[in-house]
């Protein structure tokens, strides 16, 4: 069991994440989708949540945002010593973007309403 302090830290992290996500969405939806790696449906629901609702979402002992790196080998690759160390951040950017592209369902091919599962 972790102590209360660490549990609080998780709540705070969750809430900060949600608040940041909302700010990013308000500023620029397309850029926010790219930065957060979330789809249109998720953007639409997140942007209208009130602060009490965000708090509700945050108060769990699990972290609510997903780790974006899918394979451990990639992390060791990006963090290993290299004579082109200064290119590492952009390599990370490229790999995350490529992966996001492959994992994202196109907004345009999705039927306009989500009624199918009602």
């Amino acid at each position: 069991m972790i102590d209360n302090n660490e549990l609080k830290n998780i709540h705070i992290l969750n809430l900060s994440y949600l608040l940041l996500a909302q700010r990013l969405i308000n500023e620029d939806k397309i850029a926010a989708k790219f930065r957060l790696g979330i789809d249109d449906a998720m953007v639409k629901i997140l942007e209208v949540l009130t602060l009490p609702q965000l708090v509700k979402l945050s108060e769990t002992n699990q972290i609510i945002c997903q780790f974006r790196f899918e394979c451990p080998e990639l992390i060791s690759k990006i963090t290993s010593e290299s004579r082109i160390d200064d290119k590492r951040p952009i390599h990370t950017g490229i790999l995350l973007a490529t992966q996001l592209y492959k994992n994202t369902r196109s907004d345009m091919s999705v039927p306009s309403t989500g009624d199918s599962y009602v």
């Binding site: 990639l74 690759k77 004579r83 952009i90 390599h91 490229i94 790999l95 973007a97 345009m108």
Partner: protein
């Protein structure tokens, strides 16, 4: 009237991001004279003359390739997945690219907006394409129409001349 206003907004945005006059002429319906005047007002100097850079080879040399790849990976998502279109998509992608690759002080950015715009043209005509690196699984800009069975990107397999840029 409305069209002219929105063209003007686009032109201002493009000039501030460093666009060349030819690009402005293609992407807005404003006259060359108007654009030149606008350029002078914003930049305090006349727009550079001469042809646009047109070599596709530029994008496959190593540092340029990394930057072009970053830009195009962003552009691909927001056009194909998020439904962003036209010059607006290029502007959004370029902004996101700049955040990842801020220019060093006093130095021009590796990939200018005009280069990014030309890159999109090259990819549309399949002269350039994205090819997956067999090592890191990232998609990188390569020449089009070529089979790449065991492609390794310029970061996983950098050319021998590539090294940390010397501090000047």
């Amino acid at each position: 009237m409305m069209q002219e206003y929105s063209d003007l907004q686009t032109a201002i945005e493009l000039i501030n991001l460093g666009a060349r006059l030819q690009l402005l002429e293609k992407e807005t319906s404003l006259s060359r004279a108007k654009l030149t005047k606008l350029y002078r007002e914003l930049k305090g100097k006349s727009p550079p003359k001469g042809m646009l850079p047109f070599s596709a080879d530029w994008y496959v040399t190593w540092e340029n390739n990394i930057h072009a790849t970053m830009f195009y990976n962003i552009y691909r998502i927001i056009t194909e997945h998020y439904g962003s279109l036209g010059i607006g998509a290029i502007i959004s992608s370029y902004r996101l690219y700049l955040e990842q690759c801020p220019s060093r002080e006093q130095m021009e950015n590796v990939l200018s907006l005009t280069r990014a715009w030309t890159l999109v043209r090259f990819c549309e005509s399949r002269i350039l394409q994205l090819t997956p690196c067999t090592q890191c699984k990232g998609d990188f800009i390569t020449h089009g129409f070529e089979p790449y069975m065991a492609y390794q990107c310029v970061i996983c397999y950098p050319p021998s001349r590539a090294s940390r840029r010397k501090e000047i």
